[in-house]
Amino acid sequence: MIADLASVSFPALGTTALLCAAEAEGLPAAHEALERELDELDLACSRFRDDSELVRLNASAGSGPVPVSPLLHEAIEVALRAAEDTNGLVDPTVGRTLRLAGYDRRFANVVLRDGSTFRASYGPVPGWRRVRLDPAGRTVTLDGDVELDLGATAKAYAADRIAHAAAKASGTGVLVGLGGDIAVAGPVPDGGWPVRIADDHAAGPDETGPTVAISAGGLATSGTTVRRWLAGETQLHHIVDPRTGRPAQTPWRTVTVAAASCLGANVASTAAVVLGEEAPAWLAARGLPARLVRESGEVEHANGWPEDGS
């Protein structure tokens, strides 16, 4: 039962931020923690703000070690660990090819561009090993051709951070949703946190989709149907296959994964989209519960994910 549940949502990080508190009186403190963390994250990790640390870091590629804030250092460290865990399937050095492909501004402005006259180009992905961190000096060194994009990990990592900070600040259980990335922390409502699965995180209440409950960690959905733009006569999407430097050719429309953290769920769901037909075996080897939807709409489940409507 979720009798005292309270929630607030607002636009943030180019998507929608949602906060649910298991007890209404905990919402203001949790909300304050959410706003603070989002502001700090955007200033550190945005690829589209002239005053962000990441923009300055990318501009200084090839010039040696650059001192960065603890938050950006941690966000890059997380991105590099994700790359290592996935053997490079989720790689933060896709920034340049994403920019050349047309994702060179906030997404709301990408779709406003006349795509019919836009011609995409691509570049090789340098690879995460071309980024070096110095924890002692808190510096980052990018090789000359490296341009970072932290979109595959920063939002999910933020959801984890914020959920834990908000639960601590409010003393109640919280759920944080940033786009399709969901993290929970603190005491769990009876029956868990109910989450609907859909192609689009902004789907209206009438949209269909199974509802599942989670009690810990996180849940994330990666897909190719929402963040799309036109380049000439071709529809492109934002999940780049680092092996080709181009939007991933995948049989999956969406992949949803549950993991011990939202970050882990998002890294796995993104890797699964990139992997294509090999994804179910890859997820099985890691014991990650997942729901995969093919372009045709056919649904597959892995590692204990419940059947739709069961």
Binding site: S7, G180, A185, G191, G192, P194, V226, L263
Partner: protein
């Protein structure tokens, strides 16, 4: 009017110097003994050595505890800088529910 100045004899002068040396020696010994006595008295009346050591350990533990708590609050276990922990750690699968959803997970 003339003042009459009496020059001491060498023997009397040597005897005076010897008395002065003995007095100085006794004074030094006495001061040392008194310092030791007061130090012992202070040590017994204020038994601080043992409790101070414990206080230092307690302080250290408190700092470590605080640091761990802060780290846990800022970043969940799966996202700390512990290189041995993979980002993609499994958890229990979700369960089907009939409760109305509070959020939608989908592409963004």
């Amino acid at each position: 009017m003339h003042r009459v100045r009496h020059e001491p004899s060498p023997r009397a002068r040597d005897a005076g110097v010897a008395r002065l040396r003995r007095a100085t020696r006794f004074a030094v010994l006495g001061a040392t003994a008194l310092a030791g006595a007061f130090a012992g008295l202070a040590a017994h009346s204020v038994p601080g050595h043992k409790s101070r050591s414990v206080a230092v350990r307690t302080t250290t533990r408190t700092v470590r505890t605080t640091t761990q708590a802060a780290t846990t609050a800022a970043a969940p276990a799966a996202t700390t800088s512990d290189d041995a922990t993979p980002a993609t750690t499994a958890t229990s699968p979700p369960v089907t529910t009939t409760v109305a959803p509070v959020v939608t997970s989908g592409g963004s």
